[in-house]
Symmetry: D2
């Protein structure tokens, strides 16, 4: 990924939206990549994202996957539209500590009433080894932007 990728209008719009998400700012989520129909975001490990066994919390994994899919959906909408998550379903595949999570959201179907995405969440350990962490299937609804 070159820095240039995040200089497109849609990438800047997504970066601005992410900067408005108190929760994701708080968890240090980062926007990595924006293409038409595909967005990648990352979340570092830390005390703010753990569950009772010390690994990444399912809530953090779900939140990261949700924005990866939601922003992927945003890339296929016309101007002036915003997107909201109607629902998602997530399967947790394995637990992980340390390192970071990366979620890649992809649009499966972009429609006027409904946008469907799938999201894969990977864990990258401190040595850089990547493994599957979770998969999500998500339904988004385009709505007129109101802010």
């Amino acid at each position: 990924m070159s820095t240039a990728d995040l200089n497109t209008p849609i990438a800047q719009r997504i970066a601005a939206s992410l900067a408005r998400q108190g929760m994701m700012v708080h968890l240090d989520a980062k926007l990595l990549r924006v293409e038409k129909g595909e967005v990648e975001v990352a979340l570092p490990f830390g005390d703010k994202v753990t569950q009772q066994q010390g690994g990444f919390h399912g809530g953090a994994i779900g939140a990261l996957a949700d924005i990866a899919g939601g922003y992927a959906g945003l890339t296929v909408l016309p101007e002036g539209m915003e997107i909201v998550t109607a629902e998602y379903k997530i399967n947790f595949l394995s637990g992980h500590q340390e390192g970071e999570l990366r979620a890649v959201g992809k649009v499966v179907k972009g429609g006027k009433r409904i946008v469907v995405t799938t999201v894969e969440v990977f864990h990258i350990d401190v040595q850089g080894k990547q493994s599957m962490c979770a998969v999500m299937q998500q339904t988004l609804v385009p709505v007129p932007q109101n802010y």
Copy 2:
């Protein structure tokens, strides 16, 4: 709810587990009620749980619902067993700001290999008015406790 409700062994075990969840401690989640097959937890509004429009983030709603269902599942397990979330599906029904969220998880089926729960998430506004916020359906897997 009387304070006594949280003095049972299972309630204390759940409280101790919740206190180990860095993410939920960080978000100020509170255990409200523990009965056999049913658990209620709460999450206050604040900067740490917002999305881009200033309402509760779907990730926070999902995380709260996940622990309500997971802890409800824990109440029906034999001693020495722990529970992990295999997957969940959540529908977001309406957006809310301020006030707090309350999630009530209920066991629909407790089995040896799989525990199924449903969770309802309500928003309580600052005047105390309650409205539906989200519904979840969740699959849990009992595993031997390892900590």
Copy 3:
């Protein structure tokens, strides 16, 4: 349930729609009850609905639950609107042979863009004993009727 319940305009509209569903006619699905926001349908056991172990096939359970939820959604729409299933998630709780299935669909949220339902599927054995068989959470989209 009295016969009168199925003589309302909405019940007759649903009965007419069900009679147009080749698959459900073929499987002998029956409309049992129609109220505002709630619909009950039934499916008898037989060779056409079995899986490899001789019990009700998950596909038959899913199809029955899908129409219970979809028709429940139809009861809360304005005139001239039809409803389509965007997605559903179903948990199978226990296997059953003989007797019949009954699915009760309920609207959790009726909105302009999205209708959300939950569906419970029960098995009624030949002695009349009832047990939980499956639970579904479903997202529907209102669309203009085109037939």
Copy 4:
């Protein structure tokens, strides 16, 4: 696909299981391809699989996707084990008439307690044109074979 693909022991076991499924036999489902971790099945259009608008019924699409995923899961199990569907979630992407459906199930994670699959369902029209019809995410549970 060569005929030989369906002559392996695992393909023959799956074909025998499918032949025991009254519902799928009735709907003329066919086994097309079996590889380790991946299975493809097909379903022809006809009166037995239609919904009220004359297209493939969601229940038929769901049933086909369910067995594609379930049999894919079976290919990664040890001898003597059978698999049951704990739950699935399916998004319907577009409606189709005539032609046939093909569902391709793939194992995302094969574990001792849980197997997770994703399934893509395609529609092939009478001219051979292929389009996406549905996507499923499914949780399976390995159990000892009892028949």
